[in-house]
């Protein structure tokens, strides 16, 4: 690999930037999960789980970019679609229960 990327720590799973990004994503996931646990309404939990899906997409994308592998990319498609179906159905049920 070239000198520039080595200096910047872009390459390699243990480089500083990757560790920093992973730690930031961990913090984000903890924050979002705390909101999902606290609630207080079911819609808060849906919003929090949507944000968790985004954190997961970022984490899988980071893994794919660092390892330069395409193995985890289908997971991104699945996450994007499943998150949508989940939040829409929960929103429908929440609106129905109120009536």
């Amino acid at each position: 690999m070239s000198d520039l990327t080595t200096q910047l720590g872009v390459n390699g799973p243990t480089s500083v930037l990757v560790l920093l990004a992973g730690a930031a994503l961990l913090v984000a996931a903890v924050c979002v999960l705390a909101r999902a646990v606290v609630g207080p309404t079911i819609l808060d939990r849906v919003v929090a789980l949507d944000a968790l899906v985004v954190v997961l997409v970022a984490a899988f994308g980071l893994h794919a970019a660092v390892t330069r592998s395409t193995a985890t990319l289908p997971i991104l498609v699945v996450l994007a679609l499943v998150g949508f179906v989940g939040s829409v159905s929960v929103a429908r049920f929440a609106a129905k229960d109120a009536q």
Binding site: S2, A28, V54, V57, G61, A64
Partner: protein
């Protein structure tokens, strides 16, 4: 070739870092903001921009046609579905009265959809566009759209 790959790597790292930062900011917003609509507002930003940034970062790092195709698919799905999901969650929150109305500056939905508005009506301090009974008394009740 090596110089170009270095440039692409750095661009990829910048995109991924921006996407991760956006996810972190959104997570803080989801944790800290006061009600459903504001949390939804915070959570909806990385659903569009953050995923696009991460996808561009992955595409620049992996650099194979298959990866770029899959990543483009993710972006298209996310851009189509995320606003719809956010809209439905926000509408459900409004319908079920889970919106903190003391935080609202403007409530256009209560004017648009009388059938959906919670019983409390518009509290003091909220400015409703087209406020006043003289507007509504002219038209029959059926003229207003129903949910």
């Amino acid at each position: 070739m090596s110089a170009w790959s270095a440039v692409l790597d750095v661009l990829s790292a910048v995109c991924l870092g921006a996407g991760v930062l956006l996810a972190v900011v959104a997570a803080l917003g989801v944790l800290r903001l006061p009600d459903v609509l504001t949390r939804l507002h915070a959570a909806a930003k990385p659903q569009a921009l953050g995923v696009v940034l991460v996808a561009v970062g992955v595409g620049l790092a992996v650099r194979t046609p298959a990866a770029v195709g899959v990543v483009t698919l993710v972006v298209v799905f996310q851009l189509v579905t995320a606003p719809v999901a956010a809209h439905m969650v926000g509408r459900a929150a409004y319908r079920t009265g889970k919106v903190r109305r003391d935080l609202l500056l403007l409530d256009e939905l209560s004017e648009l959809q009388g059938a959906e508005a919670p019983e409390g009506g518009v509290p003091d301090g909220c400015v409703v566009r087209g406020d006043g009974d003289e507007d509504r008394s002219d038209e029959p009740d059926d003229a207003r759209p129903r949910a």
